[in-house]
């Protein structure tokens, strides 16, 4: 695999992983706010 193919593969894996992790963080935050509401 040459470096261009490696870079394309990196983007193909990297961007979906990034968005998945961030969506997971959003979910965690929403759950935390529900579990520990501000009183």
């Amino acid at each position: 695999m040459d470096s261009v193919e490696q870079a394309l593969l990196l983007m193909g894996i990297g961007l979906p992983v990034m968005f998945t992790v961030i969506l997971l963080f959003i979910g965690i935050t929403v759950v935390l706010k529900k579990v520990f509401p501000n009183e």
Binding site: Q6, V21, I22, F25, L32, N38
Partner: protein
């Protein structure tokens, strides 16, 4: 006698035109730091370090030089960037982000420039280890750039750091034209509601950094140094009774590590390693990374607006880069310029704080995937 004269004139005889050019580069960085206030805390030590490294037979570098010792003590083992993460975490207030967790999506979108620039760098002939280190300039986050570059392309540490910190300082100049090009005036005037009364409980402020560290660490163990130390710094900030440690992290630790980090990076900028086509390409690609980051954030906001009832001001997307809080301020200022009563500072700062998280996650992903490709 001849030997004594030779020893006394070695500085003159060893001087090359390339060293003189490096002095000029060092002085320019110092000028930008002092006169133009461009990242002065870093560009000043980097500039002076570059001069120290380019004096003929400089005792500051070489096997026993103090800059070499500092490099081995804090950069080759990634200690300095990691300590900077503790300081950054202690400075970072995640409250606006926790009030609007949805803003985190822009922290991911605005990392698009990293991956796109890696492809451009690869197309220009850089091997994947160097392309990845160049693309990571788009993290708009100095310590992440240094951390990744040191793993994959330690020889390029000097130009990569200079590019990262220079463009971070130039965010107010780089981002507005890109945003204006991609948005209409009507879009830039979109107002966004903000509920100031929606306070975040103390438990959430403490649980958030812990949960993020655990989840990110399990998904990408290689990112633990990045995420973990940033979140540790943030824990110092939010836990009551740790005010002294938080202040120490934000002030003494940040200042001391920045000082030695800057001059050590400058010490790597020897003429032979810096004055070449690669450096010019790195500077150009760094700019490309920042532009594509900005575009990625804005375009995602525009795409989301196609489906959302309550529209997002697409400029907020551009604040998803990690240059905190500068990018958030730039966006808020642009919104006020279009409409004097459009206050989106909290939304912009929320997206900007998510950029801090997004950039280290991107760094972790690049480390994991490229590391695997290289068999590291």
């Amino acid at each position: 006698m001849e030997a004594i004269i030779q020893d006394l004139t070695v500085g003159f005889t060893g001087l090359t035109w390339k060293m003189l050019v490096m002095w000029l580069i060092g002085l320019t960085l110092m000028y930008l730091a002092v006169k133009k206030d461009y990242e002065p805390l870093l560009l000043m030590p980097i500039g002076f370090g570059a001069i120290l490294a380019n004096i003929p037979f400089s005792s500051a570098i070489g096997p026993d030089g103090p800059l070499t010792t500092l490099f081995q003590a804090g950069i080759s083992n990634e200690l300095f960037p990691v300590l900077i993460f503790v300081a950054v975490g202690a400075m970072c207030d995640f409250t606006p982000l926790l009030k609007m967790p949805f803003m985190m999506i822009f922290g991911a979108a605005a990392q698009f420039g990293i991956f796109a620039t890696i492809i451009v760098a690869a197309l220009l002939g850089f091997p994947i280890n160097e392309a990845a280190s160049i693309g990571i300039i788009g993290a708009a986050d100095g310590p992440t750039t240094i951390y990744v570059a040191n793993k994959f392309a330690p020889d390029l540490l000097g130009p990569l750091s200079v590019a990262a910190y220079s463009y971070m300082a130039l965010v107010p100049i780089i981002q507005p034209p890109v945003i204006r090009l991609l948005t209409s005036k009507k879009e830039r005037m979109i107002r966004m509601p903000y509920n100031a009364d929606d306070n975040i409980s103390h438990q959430v402020l403490i649980a958030f950094p812990i949960m993020i560290t655990l989840v990110a660490g399990i998904i990408a163990p290689i990112s633990v140094s990045l995420v973990g130390f940033l979140m540790f710094g943030n824990l110092l900030r939010v836990c009551s009774g740790l005010g002294k440690l938080s202040n120490a992290a934000q002030n003494e630790l940040a200042n001391l590590v920045t000082l030695v980090l800057g001059i050590t990076i400058g010490g790597t900028m020897t003429a032979e390693g810096f004055l070449n086509l690669k450096t010019l390409l790195i500077m150009g690609l760094g700019l490309v990374a920042f532009i594509l980051d900005t575009a990625g954030g804005v375009l995602l906001a525009k795409i989301l607006n196609m489906f959302l009832k309550e529209k997002i001001n697409p400029m907020i997307g551009a604040a998803g880069i990690s240059a905190f809080p500068m990018s958030g301020r730039v966006i808020a200022k642009m919104a006020l310029k279009e409409d004097k009563e459009n206050y989106i500072i909290m939304q912009a700062v929320g997206a900007n704080a998510s950029g801090q998280i997004g950039s280290i996650i991107a760094g972790g992903v690049v480390l994991a995937v490229v590391g695997s490709m290289l068999g590291l």
